[in-house]
Symmetry: D2
Subunit: 467 residues, 4 copies
């Protein structure tokens, strides 16, 4: 629907004796809704009993007051899901809850294991069965088969086997465990509510429940939250850090702090750098709402060209859409966005977006602005051209569908395809300079194809194909 | 809601290259709906791919044309569920579909394993995880862990470990396996449609799809259906046969053949024997609709007292019911059943039902008949007093809730509780005489507490309680 | 769906200071559900304020506890609707509630005015507007335009203008008015609950709320119920009485008293007379459930041939039905009814139904019994052949679709069409003899085409066509 | 929910032989959704037959592809409704469709008649009945009672009787009539699609279907659209023009042209004037999204203080909201809006909104910004304080609930209530100067209580109260 990369999941966890933990999880997931709109679930735990509710749809559709009230407990974890690897069905909704030898356990997972299939085969050979296509089930099997006496150690042992991206929250009957993979691809942060701890994919979920943002869970760190507070354990799997730069470019909510950085201010800085790299003669800077707003404001401030909201977003567009017949050719883009023609007419317009994926929406936006009378349209993108799919927990099209890859990064051809007067991307150097001293700690595989962790399952599949 | 024992499940399976197997399963489940109204599911298989759909509610609510059309295949199994052991949630809906080392497998199960918890603990100790509370998951784990090369042998090995009642249908990627436990508690029969075989809990499901009834799956028998036809294998676990007599008394549909017997004619015979054992001076024999109809007709024929439909059933009563306030005190019984007062007024009435469980409905019926002007009310039951809970796949109340158990089978007290002029049950001898030469092959534990297979899990639980 | 004549509506009204009148109306409509399943509505009134709720579907689907609780009042009227003249849409749901010069008024109507279109044209010419296609709106306009000071007199004046069938209940801000047309086509009766009066289409609705059946509203009578009790007024429009005999044959619920007669006992008497008129050599009498049950029992008693339930009705058949593909050819009839083959095999069967309309269901029943092995099938109908459509509030097919009309009442051809060995209808004389001394007061137009009131609108429409 | 004035309705009409008029109406209503989210309806007309569909909810909830496809025709009118006078129920959904002496007619109406009750009483005295509480029904009755031969003349005659605000579209069997009241309170404009005409409340609906904006329907003008094109007729009811200034301040969509003015540019101008009137020492200008955006940009441009999006809007907030328990005290505002704390911390913030009604949301926003660390908060409003309710088609709280009225326009008290450091409203002179030469043609009653048309029904009601 949207021509964007999409996050796979958002996760949340809390322990508290004082607040209604199911309500906290509900509010937290509400704030993380942008990370997954396909299904939502909450599991609570108290005295060895776990209660759960999961469903397809948005958080507010899956939960009502009655359902929430039933979810009693001192611990809660929650999950919203978009879906990359698994299919879209209720069986794949998370958190997964199981009974195993140590009692009950629930897991919420954000990321993508690159060797899940390999591990599945191995586990199946040892007699395991799989009821879903989600990665969490692999991790749970590894934990269930571990001989370690504590869940914490069993999890650590299990994680030695898995490769790829994972931020996960595991809930047992009396503790909450949060962990990030050694590459630290996906975010996960710690909050404090009163004297109780909570965990969330992004800080906006902490803000929503009134919790204080403490710090990110570190790469390779395991934190254990229980009635005694929070303890930290190292995972001892050193590996270069490769945080997902796209979280800062598009995926995370602008009001979040992610990887220790303000998402909004980072995006604005991208816009400023874009203006320095690509100054344009124009009358007006307008954003593609809402993703292009911070970069457009940054561009305007740096360039001195006035900022205006030349495209409006219709807030009543639902998830389904009746495609009108041939005559109207009115696409979902034309329902969702509309130009303020009186402002655009006769103007040279800089339109700013955070990224272009397939380019279908961008092409329609150019057409819309032309119809509205723009004299010139300069398309400015606050990140480099995306050229490669992601294997670390983001839903991306195949390489064949990526606009930049199709035209081999030739901006003349891309410009012609879009119908714009010019197109400019932020350079990789620009992007990196905005990251400051941490710039080497970010994964840029979707731009340059340099995958920090080998996508093992994919390589095996391709290898088998070519036999 | 209904004051009756309830079947736990109905199952169906078919292989055919000629017919739409999902449609066949749908029609089959429609006919088996009385065996479970809580959830329904169908899984189809073709060329190693399995498709499935499950949902809460009636067969016609769970499936629509679009869903059915998507379920393509040459094999199909289906399941309707009421629920005894597992809780009522989608996770417990069947058939269960899993991936394991030999590929995909789906299982539909009717019955109750008496050692499921024991096996679960054992499996958990070996690293298994459980996502539901249903028995099928135990059997599937046992199969997945077997070293046997064929699924058939792995299943046979698994079944050596389980105790209790099970009629089950297992579907692999290229075969359908049907099996009944050695005690043969629950029914399962074989049908022929064209030259393809199918399996169903009751023959009414075969009739519904136009298949011919062939024979029951035998106790201790495993049948394998694939493109080569049907093959039979012995399970080699000899044990006395203990078929559930309540299938004939109430659970199965009257038009079915179950355990090789016509359900309708058997019930009518119960009614005749009841009349011989308990002749009553009366003007009218009326059934409690619909469960008491065949026995009431049998009673009328044998006694010569005219039969009439003195109680009518409202066909528009749904599953939910708004309880009216104090004034009306109108119960669900009074909405569902209504007396033909003009016929009952001034008459001595024999009212016939198949069984009395808690007695709440029966008590209301007596009141209703009295209000309608009956001069005398004789409550006749075409089976002995139920005194014990079932552990073999029927949902029954605890002993403390059973009317006969409460009053220690004292019919005077039961009569007084109901407010009737007399109450008579068919004797155990009568019941058995209707079974003819097979009478020793029926389980009567709910009447006399003689459980043919020890309820292991329950015994362990009680033992632990008493420590 | 069902191959039967269908009632157009059921109505209910109550005044009480003591009971929850909305609950009473809800229960009353529940009992009248067989008279209309398309929409349902309740209006309550207290101190000049009226509250209402209407919706498409069954009573239990339209109302829930919350909705019912909001409907506060001392007066309530309710309506269930099938639909003959009006289309199926919420605008046509009743009761209709309007504001007019005297305040608020609500009307629930059962029947069909034969001059509604004529009156509509007249009213439109005087400036009236119509928002639905239901007859009640015509009556309401006539009342609103009346110069009479009381609603009662205005209604009486209005009714002088209308022709055809109507049993209606009108609620003003402080009274309930019930009235039946001079021909008395459709039923309406009076009940007493404590010291409050209520009105209902059939006595089963009175029974449902625990009210005592008092008597029918008389032809040409208007009853007014308010805080002072019940008063009766003559309408002074003498006309021969023509009560609808089909209410007794099929439409009303068997436990009702309608037109002062027990429906069940009347139907049983039809069966006895049928046996006397048409004795048959047979082994078994079976009813088409549920409509043929009382007559089948009557036939069995009179003939001495044993009665049995050879056809069973599936209680889980919903309103929608997925038509299986070509192979199964399984119709809704085959899902809904199933034969007890073990009982039918090799027998000569008398199958009894109350009426045959198009014959489609009957034909499938014969086929089903043959497949079940019946040696001979005699189709016995406890009423004469239906030959003409009804204009007085029953939904009937056109003459071209009526089986008897198609074959010109030639029973040999009808028998061949059905595939039965013989077919016999109760004669008109038989039917009339069961009515006793009142036999001349029944409308038999659907059998003999002798319409007691000229269908004016239809005649005008045909006249216009032929110009 | 939202603390804003709300438009009562949006209307749309189209005639075309070439395009799917129901689709056009659907798209048009989609664009007008902000004018009413309670119910939606479309009526089409062809050859004397009208088809319609109405329902509660958003346009996309009320219509699906199947429903739209059924609405065949050459004419269509559509309506979205919020509701001021009428209650919220399906009976009050528009367009209203009726049969009257000249055939069928459908009416969609935006506005509020100030003498509707007076006319209703008069009409009721002449025998009219009313089934809803909406004003359209009054106009329809007047038309139906008119002796004029053409609908156009009958409508003109009817409109001579009504007082107040109305933009309405009437559809007969072969024409579309659009009309605005002489005061021209509510907008209505004409578009051209190919060579067919259409009508819409705002130009954004024309843009959505690809139609060209032609001009507003003039005050006191009636336009008739049929197969011969568009004809204009004067209504001859001269009266001072009083267009609703709130359409420009908040109600209309920013990309619309309304009363001939660009809404977006007008709002930006309000912001500029606000900056000139109320310069503030600050670091940041942020809007309350989305209503405050254009004025905030205008303020920023004029003042030179940088603009930023310091408050973000959650796009996943649905219409219902589970109120969390006491601990979280998280209101709908806190779910919907969230601050970018990293940007606000330590800053002096100008927050701009278009208007303050009750002040509840504004108060929460101030609190939110304070929690985010703002050093100073200046609340700037781009319109004068609202002090009076509207009687011309806008849903407004009573005077007692309006923040400015409560504090008698004392900005010190308002500031203290909000907890801000200062509050400034645009002056009436500023507002008027932005209107340019037309400034005398705008209704400002909600600010100054000078009602251009006497609210007759209200006055009568008050008069009766005081007797």
């Amino acid at each position: 629907m949207e021509d964007k990369f999409r996050d796979e999941c958002g996760i949340f966890g809390i322990y508290s004796k004082d607040v209604d933990v199911a309500q906290a999880a509900f509010l937290g997931l509400y704030a993380l809704q942008h990370r997954g709109q396909e299904s939502a679930g909450i599991v609570t735990s108290r005295d060895g009993e776990m209660l759960h509710h999961r469903g397809m749809g948005l958080v507010q559709q899956v939960f009502d007051e009655e359902t929430l009230n039933k979810l009693d407990g001192e611990f809660a974890i929650g999950h919203v899901r978009y879906s990359t690897t698994g299919e879209s069905r209720i069986e794949n909704a998370q958190p997964v809850v199981v009974r195993y030898k140590k009692g009950k356990m629930a897991v919420a997972h954000n990321g993508n294991l690159v060797n899940a299939l390999l591990l599945k085969e191995e586990l199946e050979n040892e007699g395991s069965i799989f009821q879903s296509t989600i990665d969490s089930e692999v991790i749970i099997h590894l934990i269930a088969r571990s001989k370690k006496t504590s869940t914490r150690e069993a999890l650590a042992e299990a994680l030695k086997r898995v490769e790829g991206a994972y931020s996960l929250i595991l809930m047992t009957e009396d503790e909450l465990i949060g962990v990030r993979d050694p590459s630290a691809f996906r975010p996960l942060c710690i909050g404090l509510l009163g004297d109780s701890y909570c965990l969330a994919s992004e800080s906006c979920a902490l803000e929503q429940i009134g919790a204080e943002y403490i710090r990110p869970v570190e790469p390779n760190e395991m934190v254990v939250i229980d009635k005694n507070g929070l303890k930290s354990y190292p995972l001892n799997q050193p590996r270069p850090i490769s945080m997902c730069i796209f979280e800062l470019i598009y995926l995370s909510r602008p009001d979040s702090i992610v990887f220790g950085k303000s998402v909004y201010l980072t995006r604005k800085e991208f816009g400023r750098l874009l203006a320095r790299e690509h100054p344009v003669e124009a009358d007006l800077v307008i954003p593609v709402p809402d993703s292009g707003i911070p970069a457009a404001i940054g561009y305007s401030e740096e360039s001195g060209i006035p900022y205006d909201m030349g495209l409006l977003r219709n807030h009543y567009v639902g998830r389904t859409f009746i495609q009108p017949g041939a005559f109207f050719r009115s696409s979902k883009v034309r329902i969702k966005l509309s130009p303020v023609s009186e402002m655009i007419k006769g103007k040279r317009v800089v339109i700013v977006d955070d990224s272009i994926v397939r380019g279908t929406t961008s092409k329609e936006i150019v057409k819309m602005l032309k119809n509205a009378g723009a004299k010139a349209i300069h398309f400015l993108i606050s990140s480099p051209p995306v050229n490669y799919p992601c294997f670390y927990g983001i839903a991306t099209p195949t390489r064949e569908e990526l606009l930049a890859a199709i035209y081999n990064n030739d901006t003349d051809q891309i410009r012609d395809y879009l119908g714009a007067d010019s197109i400019h991307y932020l350079s990789m150097e620009g992007l990196m300079s905005a990251m400051g001293k941490d710039h080497s700690q970010f994964c840029r595989a979707c731009f340059n194809g340099e995958y920090p962790v080998a996508p093992i399952d994919m390589i095996r599949r391709e290898a088998l194909k070519n036999c």
